[in-house]
Amino acid sequence: MTTLRAFVARLRALFIRDRRLSEEIESHLHALTEEHRRRGLSEEEARAAARRAFGNALMAEDYRAQERLPFVDAAWQDFKLSWRRVRSRGASGVLTVGLLALALGASTTVFSAADSFVFNRTPFPNQSRVAVILSTYPRTGVSDYLPPSAVAAWRRHADIFSQVAVHWRAGSSLVSHNGVTEAIGTRLVSANLFGTLGVQPAFGRPFLTADESDAQSVAMVSHRLATWLFGDATQAVGRVLPLDGARPRIIGVMPPSFRFAGAADEIWRPLDLPSWDETSGVQHVVELAPGASLTSAAKAVAGRATLVHGGDVTRRPTAVSLQSLSGSNADGRTRILFLSLAGGALALLLLGCPPAVDASPRRIPSPSGSTVRSGLAGRRCISGSCPCPCLPHRGRRDDG
């Protein structure tokens, strides 16, 4: 508790500057001076004696270190120093920083590509033809779900969508096996979702429309979950999924690489749309109709949104749009997170630049008019007698 209180006080001091130290020192020195004067010293001698008694020239530094969080101050000093050094280098500094940024960006791109193509292969084949209908609040950029009644409305627009599917994240289900209980991510999906994505179960069958009205009795599971529960995923179909409170029968096992909606869901159950609460939205996934491009479909959605969503009982002040599946996760919060990360990366980049800037080759004019390249620009002169503002070479003092 004491440590926490001290930390909070020091954190507060970062933002609220307390200037009491100088006033306290002045008051203290005045009292000491008066004391020495009463002992018979002159004004000047008393002041000097007070200074000696007060002592400790580094006291203010100790006080500052105690008052605030030294590592934050040090980081801020480093940041300011880095910025000054980059600025003092002018164009060459900007160029070096730019090259560093490019190199970092290139590295990130390479690793992202490697992650996407090598480690996380495209989870379903239809990805380029699949999009999501988003309902976005214009002011905040935050996405919201669409009402379930919109499904039937959009399904009538067969010129742009060949399929319209829906899904909803249902939290976690507790699955117990061999005395171990795991919370497994669960998603409710319309029967045509997997068909829309162009993916088929590795074993068993996908959901049928008839399953939607019997949502409690069937489920599909991930390959990992099936293997964990039954030892062999091929043995899972037809078995009972040991959920906490329900016992649906497993009708299909998804391929090992299948992932959807950026979540680690491993149980999928049918979404019974007719009984779905109209005020609780669902996420819409569409497959573009043959001949329709994402751009043309997006224009059509924007133009027809009022017609389709005119009867939206929630009356939400949102803008309806169509986005590719990969870009649909970039909602307002994600953008803020991304910008924060980018800002942090920029700050780190700036902190790391000065050594790179200093180490960059710099042209130093020599007395003969030619130029000498030095890898230690501004530190030690290699000729010793040049007019540049560098220090003489340490090993040859006589020629400096």
Partner: protein, 112 residues
């Protein structure tokens, strides 16, 4: 090293400040320094400026609190008072100190 004029033993300034405030009531920085020097009777070489980081440290821990007031020579000064938590801390420090002293005493007694 002079046997009669030593520096403040490491880690003891805080407890000296707490004890001064516990016995004297509200004091400003100068008053605390004078109180410690008086009790030491010249046996302690105290740089009075070192009081202030200690005061801040104790205040951050909630063992003392401070407020502006007017000193005896009519100057604005910050007065420090001990809190209930500070009084409890004195008891803790006292026990620690007794333990440390008895340990060193035992070691010294074994010295031929």
């Amino acid at each position: 090293m002079s046997p009669t004029h030593t520096g403040v033993p490491y880690g003891t300034l805080d407890v000296m400040v707490l004890a001064s405030l516990a016995s004297m009531g509200a004091l400003h920085g100068y008053g605390i320094a004078r109180r410690i020097e008086q009790v030491a009777e010249g046996a302690l070489a105290l740089n009075q400026g070192t009081i202030y980081p200690a005061l801040l440290r104790l205040e951050q821990k909630g063992w003392i609190r401070s407020a502006w007031g007017t000193s005896e020579n009519n100057r604005r000064a910050r007065f420090y008072t001990i809190t209930a938590a500070g009084r409890r801390q004195i008891q803790v420090e006292s026990r620690n100190w007794q333990r440390a002293v008895s340990l060193v005493d035992r070691l010294l007694e074994e010295t031929p």
